[in-house]
Subunit: 243 residues, 2 copies
Amino acid sequence: MSKAPSLSRQVLSNLELFRGLPPTALDEVLSCAATRSLARDFRVFNQGETRVRAHVLINGWIRISQSGSEGAQIVVRFIGPGDIFGAISLFTDRRYPADADTLTEATEASWSDRALLDLMNNHPQIAINAVRIVGQRLQEAQHRVRELATQRAERRVAHALLRLLRQVGTTTSRGIVIRFPLRRKDIADIAGTTLYSASRILSAWERAGWLKTLDRRIAVESLSELMRIAEDESGRDIAAPSP
Amino acid sequence: MSKAPSLSRQVLSNLELFRGLPPTALDEVLSCAATRSLARDFRVFNQGETRVRAHVLINGWIRISQSGSEGAQIVVRFIGPGDIFGAISLFTDRRYPADADTLTEATEASWSDRALLDLMNNHPQIAINAVRIVGQRLQEAQHRVRELATQRAERRVAHALLRLLRQVGTTTSRGIVIRFPLRRKDIADIAGTTLYSASRILSAWERAGWLKTLDRRIAVESLSELMRIAEDESGRDIAAPSP
DNA sequence: ATAGGGAGTTGCGTTTGCGCAACTCCTGTC
DNA sequence: GACAGGAGTTGCGCAAACGCAACTCCCTAT
């Protein structure tokens, strides 16, 4: 999995982490980057591993998942082109907090902790970008906490699907399709329910004609019905500005 | 609520956000800080408000809570002396994502978005500290997601209590006591369950003699029993280093 | 062809925990 | 001293969803 594909300044400047940097800085970033190609179904890093690096996915898709000591598992997020992953661990306990697996062939770039820290010190904009990225994820995570604490399984599955469609949906003749294959168990781990409940919910929706699964790939035909299930709790909150 | 208490370099240098800065930088930070005293039960900011600032709590305690459009509510976290709050919103959508209320009298310092950004640009260490802080919170939030998705109410309440004890517990003659008063509803909102379930669980524990509540203040006598309920899922995961 | 394995579905019984309603207890007020 | 209001408890019934087990379907390997 590693003929090293070369990385251009062009590509780099489109990554959120390196947005707003002058060309000279991009060169500096380039000079300490390591890139590699990854096969499908490849374990990029393991939960608990201590040889941490900061990763950016150039293309392909990766699933980040966490498992508890009792077999319980959740999908933390899906990483797409341009997303960083495994990078916060450099700043906390220096262990990856989750597993990363490729869902498709993929290309990643990565930096050592030392290199990233130096880059941030020389170019504060990188650190500021990082705060923004991690901050967004924190907000998402907190939203998910509220969802799990207050909403029912069916609604959570609807939300999970809608989020996926927004992030990785492609419109085709057969409706909006999620770009990569997903098992029922994956859906369950995203929505925080069990394989059985997820299966029941999805097959009810298939029966109602709102979606179809073909070869692990979910195609949604009636987005509006899904949104009706997900109802008002659509993601952003109503503002209540003070006087 | 605002005789302005003055802020010293000494205090500032102990805040995690400003750790590792040279004295001259601290002066710079000081010069654009606004401090104020807050009464008990005071709303510091509202969810959705757009006039955002970065806050640091100097002393006292604050509860950060989020409510959904259907009345459902969760406690996001408790803020203690030295913690930052309301600051990530400067980098994301420029709205506070939650409400902040004082639980005790308190003192806070705050900075405008402009000022904080300038400070970060001049002193990358601040931005790096911020990444670390937000990263830690992200990991906590993700841990909480897993907990909600996979564990039962009783176990979640046990975890919530243990977390609180670690963060704000004081050892007294009557066991380890949580520093500020908590209603059953608060416990429920922290653990992601209902007032009724939380009440049932806690009174069962009182009956078993593991804790007592006196005037909304929870005193834990038998920490080990609580830990037994919370069991192995103690917070950090088992490492599985790769070859 | 056939066996085996992974994924998905669904019937069924069981558990969990939600939530109303009724009650107690405590505290502060007039 | 009576009363209002907030907090907490608990009996009871009910809905959600978990999880086993049995079954189908499809793909691949021998």
